[in-house]
Symmetry: C2
């Protein structure tokens, strides 16, 4: 099973019943050079800014997970979008 | 097992032996309003532009998967970064 299948299967469980606009973003960085500073926290801000060009994002509705070990970093952003029906 | 664990487990398999700089980005969009046009293709371009501020990205080294069904879209970007040791 490919990664996309795993990802899709994990997400289907909870989302079938609730018709919510949601965006979920995962960024994984395999670091070959550990001495370099991480740019993921800054990247996270910039990705959010890009997304806000397309949809209204309430920053309170963004949850962030960040994990780091020796050779990789994982960043997860979960964004619940406001009810689009309320907008023009 | 949480999504991050699934994600990490899937990726560990192939990556242990090869010390490559890699970025993998997944964007999942649960669409409550199907009549709206998708912004993911445009978002993909902008995310790539943001990433290129931080690292050199050879566009030939980017592989893209895009899947869409009735209520969700999935976008996957896999980027093999050039050997950072060769730079500055």
């Amino acid at each position: 099973m490919g990664l996309l299948d795993v990802f899709r299967a994990s997400r289907k469980k909870g989302s079938a019943a609730i018709a919510k606009e949601r965006l979920q973003i995962l960024v994984a960085h395999d670091r070959a050079f550990r001495n370099r500073p991480s740019y993921l926290p800054k990247l996270q801000q910039e990705i959010l800014e890009v997304i806000r060009k397309y949809v209204e994002v309430d920053l309170d509705a963004v949850s962030v997970n960040y994990e780091q070990d020796d050779d990789q970093e994982l960043l997860e952003l979960n964004i619940v979008l406001p009810d689009a029906a309320a907008r023009s």
